[in-house]
């Protein structure tokens, strides 16, 4: 019989320990303490107090939460069943007292297992590799332990709180969305829409835990304050362009100084400005500037093209002239005549020519005729049209 077996095992445990566990269980909470009371009621023969009043119903759900002690649930179940059975039997005093004694032993055993589990779980701690544990003894800071399996006194005496000291945490301030603007004033009283992130990590977990009431909020406020103070030393044009790196550096410095002053135990790893734009309301004007720059470039480009064109032409013209002149110098008269006749030939062969022998005739020439001969085609077409 498992009941008897367990009962005898309970009986084998030292008497002092039994008492201790029992007292602990009494102090722990009132439902536990009610145990014997309920049983006593049963012994007095109060038949109305049956199953549902059984005190073991109440602590049972607490048990799986308490620990992974393997025997607990089965022992309690057994006990429950037995308790119900005894009440159901009722009346017989001797049998009842036997049952009661047996269940008390089991009860001791269960409580003892719980206490052992509690001792184990509150004394052994596995600190993960990225964390450090801050141990407080009765509230007072005791030590900071590194990763590994660590021992402390059980819970009410020592407590451990672990903080991740390796992870670099990021905090976003401002948002790159157009709808959510985070305006910052610059030195020239302009406005810049900033979004940035702060990367930080915990340097001293004990400072981080004990010094600041709201570390995250503090870091955020310090970041905002430092960013605004820094940007106020920069002009808008610098803030949205070349000054970014310098701003990031200065903000980091400022934040670190302030947090060190608070003894926050935090290291600022870096600031990254994700966006530094002029507000959307004046964006057009900024684009205008960009357009103007482009225009300037294109104006200059055109001028350079003109320069090339003019110079090349000058070089070409002069080169041609120089060649001719070289030859001309060798035979000036002939070359000159040849050029003259060739030109005249070309010119006059393609034009209407009128040679007037006598002097003074020129005024009587029918200039209209001369003109008409030049443009016969349009007249013909108009006549055709009529």
């Amino acid at each position: 019989m498992t009941n008897e077996n367990e009962g005898s095992m309970g009986g084998r445990s030292p008497r002092g320990a039994r008492q201790f566990f029992h007292r602990i269980s009494l102090m722990a909470n009132s439902p536990w303490g009610n145990g014997p009371k309920g049983d006593k009621g049963g012994k007095d023969g109060d038949g109305d107090r049956t199953g549902p009043r059984n005190p073991w119903v109440t602590p049972d759900p607490a048990d799986p939460a308490r620990g992974r002690k393997p025997r607990g649930p089965s022992a309690l179940d057994e006990l429950l069943r037995k308790g119900r059975g005894s009440f159901g039997g009722g009346g017989s005093g001797g049998g009842n007292s036997f049952n009661f004694g047996d269940s008390a032993g089991l009860w001791k055993w269960g409580v003892g297992a719980l206490v052992v589990a509690w001792l184990l779980f509150s004394s052994f701690h596995i600190v993960p590799p990225e964390k450090e544990g801050v141990v407080t003894r009765l509230g007072s800071y005791s030590r900071t332990v590194g990763p590994g399996v660590k021992f402390t006194w059980p819970t009410p005496i020592e407590r451990i709180r672990m903080e991740d000291v390796r992870a670099i945490r990021t905090m976003q301030i401002g948002s790159p969305n157009a709808t959510d603007e985070n305006f910052v004033l610059t030195r020239d009283q302009s406005i810049v829409d900033l979004a940035y992130e702060v990367r930080w990590s915990i340097r001293d977990p004990e400072l981080y835990i004990f010094q600041l009431a709201d570390p995250d909020g503090t870091i955020r406020e310090v970041a905002e304050s430092a960013m605004r103070a820094t940007v106020a030393n920069f002009d808008l044009v610098q803030a949205i362009g070349p000054g970014r790196v310098e701003i990031e550096r200065q903000v980091q410095q400022r934040m670190q100084d302030l947090l060190d002053q608070y003894r926050a135990g935090v290291t600022i790893q870096g600031i990254a400005i994700r966006q530094a734009d002029p507000p959307s309301q004046v964006d057009e004007a900024f684009k205008e500037v960009t357009a103007a720059r482009q225009k300037r470039e294109s104006d200059i480009n055109l001028a350079r093209a003109y320069e090339q064109q003019v110079l090349e032409r000058a070089r070409g013209d002069t080169a041609a002239f120089d060649k001719i002149y070289e030859q001309y110098k060798l035979a000036p008269g002939v070359t000159r005549k040849r050029l003259y006749y060739e030109t005249m030939e070309g010119v006059l062969s393609n034009t209407d020519k009128t040679i007037v022998e006598a002097r003074g005739v020129t005024p009587y020439l029918p200039l209209n005729e001369v003109q008409r001969r030049v443009v016969p085609a349009p007249e013909a077409t108009t006549k055709g049209g009529q």
Binding site: Q19, H22, R23, L26, M27, P36, K37, K108, T136, R137, L138, G139, S140, Y141, S142, F183, T186, Q189, S190, I191, I209, F210, Q211, A213, D214, E221, E224, S225, R228, A229, A232, Q261, E284, A285, F286, V289, A292, K295, R296, D299, I300, A303, V310, L311, R315, D317, T318, F321, Y325, R336, Y340, T343, M344, L348, N350, K353, I355, V356, V374, V375
Partner: protein, 283 residues
């Protein structure tokens, strides 16, 4: 003993409960980030783990605090650095600029006795300090120009505010560690619009300047090119101006009478005296 327990569980239970109550009334844990006041019938009897500057954790007074049960009670007060968050305030600077200011302060309760006597709880102290911070901020910023708030001088402004606030905070047993302007923004509406306009016109000015600059540079380049071309021409043609005159005239005739631009046709009336017709006359 155990049989005694099972026989008189009520007695045991009552005893244990009484012990629990007495222990909880006698012993309390003061954490590292707390300071505690022991009150005897409401009168402050002594303090535990009181803030001392530059103390090390683990060597402060944190730990168990004992007191006489039922006669003395314990009151915990935060030992950490606390924050004051001020409501956003509109401040008018001397040059009549409106400004939305958000500020925060950090403080620590250094004198828990005074703090408890004056105002009791941390929350009420925070509210009180926020109100004081708001008014000293308005006072101080009201004496400054808008530009000051954006200059390195604002550090000095903050120091003044901190001194003023600290004076008040001392009365409540607190010490101000830091006062910062978190945000100083132009209020929505006309002021913000005016700022936008200023930014816009500044950009427009820049744009126009850049365009003009571009034109200027282009002109210079063209002028230089023309000059250079003239120099090249002069260097070449200057060797024989008379021949250049003739050569260029020939080119010009061709261009004028034969070129593509000569569309109207040309009629030439030649006098027999013309040089070209010299031989025509048989001269």
């Amino acid at each position: 003993m155990f049989e005694g327990l099972t026989r008189h569980p009520v007695r045991w239970l009552v005893g244990a409960l009484a012990l629990l109550v007495i222990v909880s009334q006698t012993v309390s844990i003061v954490r590292e980030d707390q300071q505690a006041l022991i009150l005897r019938f409401g009168e402050i009897e002594r303090t535990v783990n009181r803030y001392k500057p530059k103390e090390e954790f683990g060597r402060s007074g944190a730990g168990l605090a004992l007191r006489i049960p039922f006669f003395e009670s314990i009151q915990y007060i935060d030992k950490r650095i606390l924050g004051i968050n001020m409501e956003r305030q509109q401040v008018l600077s001397t040059d009549q600029q409106r400004l939305q200011v958000d500020a925060f302060a950090r403080f620590r309760i250094t004198n828990p006795v005074r703090m408890y006597t004056a105002i009791r709880t941390e929350e009420r102290l925070q509210q009180q300090l926020a109100t004081i911070l708001g008014s000293s901020l308005r006072n101080e910023l009201g004496k400054r120009t808008f530009a000051t708030l954006l200059s390195p001088e604002r550090g000095a402004v903050m120091d003044n505010i901190q001194v003023a606030l600290n004076r008040e905070a001392n009365k409540y047993g607190a010490e101000i560690i830091d006062v910062r302007i978190k945000r100083a923004d132009l209020p929505e509406g006309a002021t913000l619009e005016a700022a936008y306009n200023r930014m816009r016109t500044a950009r427009e000015q820049e744009a126009i300047t850049i365009r003009a600059e571009g034109q200027k540079e282009a002109q210079i380049i063209r002028g230089t090119a023309d000059g250079e071309a003239a120099r090249i021409y002069a260097a070449s043609f200057g060797k024989d101006p008379e021949f250049y005159d003739f050569y260029r005239a020939m080119q010009s005739y061709r261009q004028t009478f034969l070129g593509e631009t000569n569309q109207g046709g040309t009629s030439v009336i030649l006098s027999p005296d013309n040089e070209y017709l010299r031989h025509f006359r048989g001269g």
